[in-house]
C-alpha cells in the first residue's frame, strides 16, 4: 500500500516536539556547563576542608560540609524509623483498621504538597520556639525529617508491596510470628525499596534551603554540638550568591560540590529502581 503524504499537522507537531526537547536539553547542558566551568577551578582538598573566611569569599567549606552532614544525620535518624514503621503499618497491617490507614495516607498526601517555606515557618515556631531548641542543627534536622517522611514512606511501601504474597503465606505456614516474619523475611525482601526511599530522602534533604533558613540558621563556624546553629551547603550557596558581593566564585564552587553530590544520587536511584523492577518481572 502506498504511504499517503503526511498532513501538515504531523510535520508541525514533530517540529514542535523535537524543538521542545532540543531547547530543554540545551538549557540543561548550558546550566551544568556553566556551573562546572566556573566552579571546577576553585575545587581542591583545601577548599573542601578549610574553614570559611571573609563571609565565604575566601577560605573553604569545611564547617559547611560538617553542618550539612549533621543535619542530614538528624533528619535520617528520626525519619527512617518513623517512615519504615508507618509503611509497614500501611502495607502489612491495614486489614486491622481501614479508616485509620486511609486517614494516614491522606495526611501524607497533603504533607508531600506542603511548600518548603511553610515547613520552615512550622519548624521555627515548633522546634525553635516551643521546644526551645533555638536556631540549631537539631531543629533543622527535625524540620527536614517531617519533609522527607512522605517520600520515604511511599517508596518503602512500594518495596513491601512488591514482595510476593507467597513469602507471607510461607512464613505463616511455618508458624512464624508476624513480628519475626516481618523482621527476617519481609523487610530484607523489601530492602531495595527502602534503600531507594532512603537515598531519595537524602537527596531531597541535601537540596533543601527554604526550610532551613529559620531553623538551622546561618552560622558558618564549625558546629560543636547538635544544639549549635550550622549553615547547610544550600544556604551557603544562597547567601554567597545573593548577599555577599564578590562571593560568586565560591558560590559556583559550592554549587558544583552540591551538584556533584546529587547527580550520582539521582542517576543511581533510577538505575537501581529499573534493575530491581526488571529482575522482579523476569523472575
Amino acid at each position: 500500500m502506498a504511504e499517503r503524504a503526511q498532513p501538515w499537522g504531523d510535520h508541525v507537531a514533530a517540529v514542535f516536539i523535537w524543538t521542545a526537547a532540543a531547547v530543554v536539553t540545551s538549557v540543561f547542558v548550558w546550566m551544568l556547563a556553566d556551573i562546572v566551568w566556573n566552579g571546577a577551578g576553585q575545587i581542591s582538598w583545601e577548599f573542601l576542608t578549610a574553614p570559611t573566611d571573609d563571609a565565604g569569599r575566601a577560605g573553604g567549606i569545611g564547617p559547611i560540609l560538617v553542618s550539612t552532614a549533621m543535619i542530614l544525620g538528624v533528619c535520617m535518624a528520626v525519619s527512617v524509623p518513623l517512615g519504615v514503621g508507618t509503611a509497614v503499618l500501611l502495607s502489612e497491617f491495614t486489614g486491622t483498621n481501614v479508616t485509620f490507614g486511609r486517614l494516614v495516607r491522606r495526611s501524607l498526601d497533603v504533607l508531600a504538597g506542603v511548600p518548603s517555606i511553610v515547613f520552615g515557618l512550622f519548624g521555627n515556631a515548633f522546634f525553635c520556639h516551643v521546644l526551645g531548641l533555638g536556631f540549631s542543627i537539631l531543629a533543622g534536622g527535625l524540620t527536614l525529617a517531617c519533609m522527607v517522611l512522605p517520600i520515604l514512606i511511599r517508596s518503602t511501601e512500594a518495596g513491601l508491596r512488591a514482595v510476593p504474597n507467597e513469602y507471607r503465606m510461607g512464613a505463616a505456614a511455618l508458624g512464624i510470628s508476624r513480628t519475626s516474619a516481618l523482621w527476617h523475611v519481609l523487610l530484607p525482601a523489601a530492602a531495595p525499596g527502602i534503600v531507594v526511599g532512603l537515598v531519595l530522602g537524602v537527596g531531597r534533604a541535601i537540596a533543601e534551603t527554604a526550610a532551613l533558613l529559620f531553623t538551622s540558621g546561618y552560622v558558618d563556624r564549625m558546629p560543636g554540638s547538635l544544639f549549635d546553629s550550622g549553615r547547610s551547603l544550600s544556604i551557603h550557596i544562597y547567601d554567597l550568591s545573593m548577599n555577599v558581593a564578590g562571593g560568586s566564585a565560591n558560590a559556583y564552587a559550592s554549587a558544583l560540590v552540591l551538584v556533584a553530590l546529587l547527580v550520582p544520587i539521582n542517576a543511581g536511584i533510577s538505575w537501581v529502581a529499573d534493575r530491581w523492577l526488571h529482575r522482579r518481572l523476569v523472575r
Partner: protein, 284 residues
C-alpha cells in the same frame, strides 16, 4: 502465647508511629493558625486585602501585590511548562529513537533532582544579566517565570510520561489499523485517554510553582509592587516570608504566618483537586 503477644505489641507500636506521622500535618496547620491568630483577631482578615501597602512595621498589611505576584509567576510558569513538559513526554515515548529517549528520560530525572537554590543561582548569574542587557533592570517577573518553568517542567514531564504509559496498547494499534497518522493518533486517541493523568501532573506542577521559594526569591527582584510589565521586579508571598522572617517580631511575624496559611490553603486545594482528578480516572 508469647509470639502473638509480641505481634499485638508490634501492631500498637506501628499504629502509634503512624499516628505520630499523621499528626505532623495537623501540627503544621495548628501552628500556622495559632501563630497567625494574634494579628487576625486584632485586625481581621479583610485588612490583608484592603490596606494601602505592605509596611508591616507601621501597621499596614496589604498582601494583594504579593498574592498577585505569586499568581502571575505561577500562571506564567504553568503556561510555558505544560506544552514543553507534555512535548518532552511525547518525545520520549513516540518520537525519539530508543537510546535517545532513554538518555532524555534520565536527563529529565536529573533535572527534577537539581536543588532550587542551584536554579536560583544560575538564574541570578546568567539569566538576570541577559534580561538586564535587553530590558533593564533584569531581576523581573520574566526571570522568575522562566526559572520556574525550568523547575516544574520535569514534574509535568514525569507525570505525563507515566500517564502516557498507562494508555492501553490496543488504543494505539486500533488507531494504526484505522490508518491514522502519528500525530492524529496522539491528538485524537492517546492524549485524550491520558487526559486526567496529564491534568494531575499540571496541578502538581502548579502546586510546586506556588510553593517555590529560593529560585524565585533569587531572580524576581523582590520589590513589593503590582508589575506593569514582564520586566518589572515583583515579590511573591514565599519570597516575602523568606526575606522578612529573620527579623520579624510581633504583628509582623504573625502576618508572615498568615501568608503561610494562605499558601498552605492554596496548595491543599491544588493537591486535593489533583487527587480527585486521578481518582476519577480510577473509577471511570
Amino acid at each position: 502465647m508469647s509470639p502473638s503477644h509480641r505481634d499485638r505489641a508490634l501492631g500498637w507500636v506501628l499504629r502509634a508511629t503512624a499516628a505520630l506521622v499523621a499528626a505532623i500535618v495537623v501540627l503544621i496547620v495548628a501552628f500556622l493558625v495559632v501563630e497567625s491568630a494574634g494579628v487576625l483577631r486584632k485586625l481581621g482578615p479583610l485588612r490583608f486585602l484592603t490596606d494601602p501597602s505592605w509596611h508591616p512595621t507601621s501597621g499596614s498589611f496589604d498582601l494583594t501585590a504579593m498574592l498577585l505576584g505569586s499568581l502571575l509567576v505561577t500562571v506564567g510558569a504553568v503556561v510555558l511548562a505544560t506544552p514543553a513538559g507534555v512535548a518532552s513526554a511525547l518525545f520520549c515515548r513516540y518520537y525519539a529513537p530508543a537510546p535517545l529517549a532513554k538518555l532524555y528520560g534520565r536527563m529529565i530525572e536529573v533535572l527534577a533532582g537539581i536543588p532550587s537554590v542551584i536554579y536560583g543561582m544560575w538564574g541570578l548569574m546568567v539569566l538576570v544579566p541577559l534580561i538586564g542587557k535587553w530590558q533593564p533592570p533584569g531581576p523581573s517577573l520574566l526571570a522568575a517565570v522562566l526559572i520556574l518553568t525550568l523547575m516544574i517542567l520535569p514534574t509535568i514531564a514525569l507525570f505525563s510520561d507515566a500517564a502516557l504509559a498507562k494508555v492501553p496498547d490496543r488504543y494505539v494499534r486500533g488507531a494504526a489499523a484505522l490508518g491514522l497518522t502519528r500525530w492524529a493518533t496522539l491528538r485524537g486517541v492517546v492524549l485524550p485517554a491520558a487526559r486526567s493523568g496529564l491534568f494531575t501532573g499540571v496541578l502538581l506542577g502548579m502546586g510546586r510553582a506556588i510553593g517555590e521559594t529560593m529560585a524565585v526569591l533569587m531572580v524576581c527582584g523582590n520589590v513589593v509592587q503590582t508589575p506593569g510589565s514582564l520586566f518589572d521586579p515583583i515579590r511573591p508571598l514565599t519570597a516575602n516570608i523568606a526575606l522578612e522572617m529573620g527579623y520579624a517580631l510581633g504583628d509582623h511575624r504573625s502576618a508572615l504566618f498568615v501568608s503561610g496559611l494562605v499558601l498552605m490553603g492554596m496548595v491543599v486545594v491544588l493537591v486535593g483537586t489533583a487527587e480527585l482528578v486521578s481518582r476519577g480516572r480510577l473509577h471511570g
